[in-house]
Every structure is written in C-alpha cells, then in structure tokens.
C-alpha cells in the first residue's frame, strides 16, 4: 500500500505527539528514549547506550533492567496506539527472555505489537535489537490494562 502525502503528515503528527508523550515520562527522558515509528497497535522506540547504564563493567554490556524499561515503555506505547484508543494503560505482567548480551556502545531498539485486545486487557509481544537487526537481544510478552 502506498502512503499519500496526507498519510505521511498524519504519521509525522502522531510521531510528534508520541515523542512529546514519551518526554513527559521522566524515566523515559532520563534514558534518552526516542520514538522511531508508530502504527495501529504498534510502536518502535530506541535509546542510546550509555556508561551509567552498564550492568557488567567487565564487558560494558548494558543492564537487563534497562532493556526491561525500554520494552515496558514500548509495549505501553503500542497499547495507546491501538485503534480501540484506550485512555490509559498499566503493566499487569511482563516476561522477558534474554537471548544474548546487547553489543556495548550500540543503540537498542524495541519493537512492540499489541496482538490482541479485549474490553479491558491488551496482550503484547515485543523484541529488543541492537545494531544487528537480525538476532534479537531479548523478547517479551506481556499483559497490560486498557482503560476505556
């Protein structure tokens, strides 16, 4: 499907609003999160590597907790982008599988998708990638509240 100029500007508007939304979250701002893409029930958010986020000083690998924070934020954004337009959302549970260490000094990108929505619960899947976009660093599944 091709996107006309008005679709593009809609998308830019939504992205700008989402970026403002992210910047209003102190912890997302503290981690330097950036909205890269949005779609219906989908979000892509990334953040830079940084010295103070290191979990293993021997290798410079970022702490798993940072990846959790990024995936949690990205899943929340995907819920808010769902066509059912929930007013707000909160995490009920989130499971993260750590497949490999993220490469030091590389940007981390999370992609989340809301694959099912009931009247009050959203079901999410997400992956986290470093600059090797083929082999995910981590995968997550979660359930979020959806306030209508």
């Amino acid at each position: 499907m091709s996107a006309g100029p008005s679709d593009d500007s809609d998308r830019d508007d939504r992205k700008r609003i989402a970026q403002q939304f992210i910047e209003a979250i102190p912890h997302a701002r503290a981690l330097g999160m950036r909205v890269d893409d949005l779609g219906p029930g989908r979000a892509v958010i990334s953040m830079p590597w940084s010295d103070h986020l290191v979990g293993d000083p021997r290798t410079g690998v970022i702490h798993g907790g940072v990846v959790s924070a990024l995936m949690d934020t990205c899943c929340g954004a995907a819920v808010m982008m769902h066509p059912a337009s929930p007013r707000s959302t909160a995490t009920i549970d989130l499971r993260i599988d750590y497949m490999r260490a993220a490469a030091p000094r590389q940007r981390i990108t999370a992609r989340a998708e809301c694959y099912h929505m009931t009247r009050s619960v959203a079901f999410l899947r997400a992956v986290a990638l470093d600059e090797d976009g083929e082999n995910p660093v981590a995968a997550a599944t979660g359930a979020f509240t959806a306030e209508r």
Partner: protein, 166 residues
Amino acid sequence: MADRNEPLDRIKSRRDSALNALVSGVPYMTWLGIRFDRRGDELTAVLPFDGKLIGNPVLPALHGGVTAAFLEVTAIVELSWVAMWEDLESGRIAPDAAVPESLPRLPKTIDFTVDYLRSGLPRDAYARARVVRSGRRYASVHVEAWQDNRSRLIAQATGHFLMPQP
C-alpha cells in the same frame, strides 16, 4: 569452620566491603541509587525515591521498568551473595571494589517475569529476594518489592539465571 573468637569489627568489615564491592561495581545500580541493608547474611535492597524514576507523571507512579530493574538487581545481588558467602567467610576470596579482578562474576539473566500488583508510589521502595533453587549451572530466584507495608507488595518476580562457571 568459623572462628568463634574472630574480632567482630573484622567480621563486619569483611562482609560490608564484599557487599559494597558487589554493588558499587555496577554503574546502573549506582545510577538508580540502589543500596543494600545487611543483617547477618540477610539483604534488603533499598531504592530511594527520585524524580527520574517516575513513569506516570499524572498519578504520579514509579515507572514499571524501574520496578522490574529494581527486582532484577535485587535477585542478582542476592544470588551472587549466597553463592559467594562460603568462600567469603572462609577467606578464600576477598572482593574489593578497588580491585576489579577480585570482583565475582555475576549470574546472567535467562528470563525474568514481573507481576505488577500495585502502582508504585513516589516514595522509597524495598525488596528482598529468595534463592528458590541454585544448582551448579542454573538458579531460580523469587523476589518481592514493597513500599510502606511489607504485606502490601507492589510487585513480585521470578527469574532464572545462568551461574558464572569457575
């Protein structure tokens, strides 16, 4: 076997400096402001409230990712602490924050599942972890976090970890 007559200040300084080495070696723990209270071998993690930990500025509430990170850090420190206790007490190891090679290698998280029970208030949070099973290669750890009341948990989690191989 522990020496019954070992001076108390020496015992305390050995344990405190090992714990300090475990925590201060990890930049992310320092950035979040996490510290550990120790009573004998029992550890309680403390996350002092800070504005940058907020995830919902309207309520306000702690960021779910901060809660997850706090639980995960607590699980890893508890697991390392339990694993090194015998070696520490017998004098086989003496972790020192100033000597990077003396620091124990940390377990790696395989998976971590967080159950969010209440929204985190803008106040200090506490957590305690329990090693449910620790084998030579794999370990399972349960961890709970609370704020004002120990019986009103804000979140709990279970994680599986790969132990550092000697």
